[in-house]
Every structure is written in structure tokens, then in C-alpha cells.
Symmetry: C2
Subunit: 235 residues, 2 copies
């Protein structure tokens, strides 16, 4: 992946990329690059925040644990966002479990450094306020979507969201994992993924998923996907 080598870290997170150069450089200077490992739990609900993370080519799912077995995914954070956003609200308690869904690099910063940057940089503050708003929209949409839409459409939506945040057309995903993310049993995923595969939209084999027909997937997904995208776009 040659693009990785020539990209300066500062431009790799799209949220940070929107900052004025001075603010961005000062912030990035206080970051270190870390590798996030697939299926790692980066933060657990209720813990104290110690670091914030700006994903570069990794992405992370936000999950509300329910009855200590199942989970419910309420949002996804890739290079368009950050983890630890609640510090903007002056709360240092993690609100959701953060599960790494696509491994890769991220910029990490200590809580203290971030808080002090937040006080210092008005553009940073404004940017993250907007991001918080989008995240809230996503939370509400996730609930509504799960309530009303069929598994197949939700799966398609979820794959699109991952695709947007992943690097290529392939990602590693077991059905077990997908079931956990979507709050369904594995068997349900087998059926829905089978249907998408039969339509030629995806290829699926032993944990390796390939997006074959993105436009088709968009047609198969519920409108929630567009709504989410629009929310980000108007940010």
C-alpha cells in the first residue's frame, strides 16, 4: 500500500484534516501513532477515558452492552471521526464499548493533552461540536433502523458503512462477529448474507467478505444509509 507511505499522518484523519494548519499541527505533534488490532476492545463503557483516538485507516464500532451477553451497535467511527469525544462535554466516562472492527493505525493522544488543546483551539472545539451532533443523529437512526428494517437491508447498510471506512473492497468478518454487531444470531446472518451473495452483491467465504456491486448494495440497503451519509455531508 504505497499511499500509506506518502501520506503525512496529519492528513490521514479526515476530522483533523479540516482544522486550520496551525491547530492541526500542534495537535498532531502531541499524538503518537498506534496500531489498533481487529476485535480488540479499545474502551469499555463506564471506564475512565485515558486517551483519545483518531482513526487513520482503522475503524471502530460503538456498542451498548445489553444484559451482559448481547450487544447493540449504535455507531461506527472511522477516519471521519474520533473516539473519546465525550471529553468535549467535559465527561471523562466512556459511554459505549469501542470494538475495533477494522484493524489499522490511529493517532493517540492523552486525555490531558486533548483537553488542553480543546481549551486552546476554538476551531477544534467547533469541529468536534459538529461531529457530536452527527454522532447523535447516528445513534437515533441506529435505533430506528434496527426496530423497523429487515435484517437483509440492515446488513447491506452495515456493509456499506464499513466499506466507506475500510480501505479496499475486502474485509475480514466472521458471521459470528456480524451477528454480534447487528444484534442477531449467526444463523440469521447466514441467511441474509446468502441472499446478498445470491444477488451477486457480495462474495463471502470463510470470513473473507468482498464487496462486488456497491450500487446494488445501496439499493438493497434501507434509507437509513443515505440519511446517515447526508448527516455527515452537511456537517
Amino acid at each position: 500500500m504505497p499511499s500509506r507511505a506518502i501520506k503525512a499522518p496529519s492528513s490521514s484523519n479526515r476530522l483533523l484534516a479540516r482544522l486550520p494548519r496551525i491547530d492541526r499541527n500542534r495537535l498532531v505533534a502531541q499524538c503518537e501513532e498506534v496500531q489498533l488490532l481487529e476485535s480488540d476492545v479499545l474502551e469499555e463503557r463506564g471506564e475512565r477515558i485515558r486517551h483519545v483516538h483518531f482513526p487513520v485507516d482503522s475503524f471502530v464500532s460503538l456498542i451498548t452492552p445489553v444484559d451482559d451477553h448481547a450487544g447493540f451497535e449504535v455507531g461506527m467511527v472511522g477516519s471521519e471521526g474520533m473516539l473519546g469525544i465525550s471529553l468535549v462535554l467535559d465527561v471523562d466516562v466512556v459511554p459505549h464499548r469501542a470494538l475495533v472492527q477494522g484493524g489499522g493505525s490511529a493517532l493517540r493522544m492523552t486525555k490531558a493533552a486533548f483537553v488542553s488543546e480543546l481549551k486552546r483551539s476554538a476551531p477544534l472545539r467547533r469541529l468536534l461540536d459538529r461531529y457530536l451532533y452527527v454522532l447523535m443523529s447516528q445513534l437515533a437512526q441506529a435505533g430506528a433502523c434496527t426496530r423497523f428494517h429487515l435484517l437483509e437491508a440492515r446488513l447491506a447498510r452495515w456493509l456499506l458503512m464499513s466499506h466507506d471506512r475500510a480501505l479496499g473492497n475486502e474485509f475480514h468478518l466472521t458471521q459470528e462477529f456480524l451477528g454480534y454487531m447487528l444484534g442477531m444470531r449467526r444463523v440469521g446472518i447466514t441467511k441474509a448474507a446468502g441472499a446478498l451473495q445470491a444477488m451477486g452483491l457480495i462474495g463471502y467465504s470463510r470470513g473473507n467478505l468482498t464487496v462486488l456491486d456497491r450500487a446494488g448494495l445501496e439499493a438493497a440497503a434501507c434509507a437509513c444509509y443515505r440519511i446517515d451519509c447526508d448527516a455527515y455531508a452537511t456537517m
Copy 2:
């Protein structure tokens, strides 16, 4: 209700009650008291915010419309909160439909006045930041709850939340309305409410609902109720 008469308006909204006296008085001086009417739509998603509202003895449901027929309730705002909170994030677009669920009075303030108070009063800002965090927790919890818990438990939870925000033990609620709130058919409510009534927890007759056994309702509700309460408590 003699307590109403002796309460100064400034202490009637519990959020405002937590402000230092000076900040609170300045803010309240810029408010006018309005009456919210049951089943009114106070704000619609996508609209511009013109006023913010601090419920006093009214309460309001936040709803994400889905596919322009159904709705999905993502939160509830009573005297412990406010409407128009997204102005704190510098966004003046309404994120959810706000449907008045319990009629009553509220303090209203223009957007401009609120924004200028927000800039001026650091305690106000800090308070609302916290409130936003709690609201986000509520959004996520609502999604998870709807996904995993049975209607009966959710109904119990919802009644408790209304009870906390209403004045007495009785409120006016048609099953149709309840169905809309919980994203279910009316018939589903008939069954669930019938079960709660058979257990002696509530009385229900032609749109008039009475909470008979609050402790019993708490036992019938899912854990989400406690989680929500704790979130408010630790705010």
C-alpha cells in the same frame, strides 16, 4: 395543586434550578411562560430552531420519524431537561421530532437570547454539556432496549419514565398514542397493558391511565430504566 402556586418559575425547571442564582435569574428573565398542548408537535426534524424550551410541568417525547409513517421514540424530556439543546453544539437544526406527551407549562426563550446566554454563562454551558451526555446515553439505551426487550417490559419502563416526569399518578394516554411512541401496533399495547393491569400495576380505562403500584412496575420494567436513572443521577 397548592405546590404550583408557591413555586417560583425559576425553580420549576430542575435543570435551571442547578444554575447559580445570578445566571439563573438572568436567564429566566428572558423567558416567557407558554402552555404546551398534549400531542402538539413542538418541533419537526430538519426545521430551524427558533426557540428553546424548558419544561416546567409538561413533558415531551423525542421521536425519529421512519419511512414517513412510523416513529421511534429516542428520548423523553421533562423538567429535568430542555429542548433545543443542539444549539449547545452550534447547530440550529432540530434533530428529532418533539411531540408533547404531557401538556403543561414551559419556559420559552428565543434562540438568539439563549445563544448569547450560552456564551456569557460558563455554568450554563457546563450544565448543558452534562445534559447532552445524558441524552446521548438515553439515545443509545433506547435503541438497545427496543431491540432486545419485550413489549411488556418496555411499556413498564416507558410508564415509569412518564410517571417521573408527570405530576400525579394519572395521565391521559390512548393506546393508539402509546403504540406510536413505542413503535408498536395498538393491538400489541392492548395485550401488554392488559397484562400489567391484570397484575394490578396500573389501571387503564378509556385513555386514562393510573399508576397503582410503582414498585411493581419497576420490577416489571427492564434494567434500562435503572440505567437511565443512574445516568441522570450521576450527571
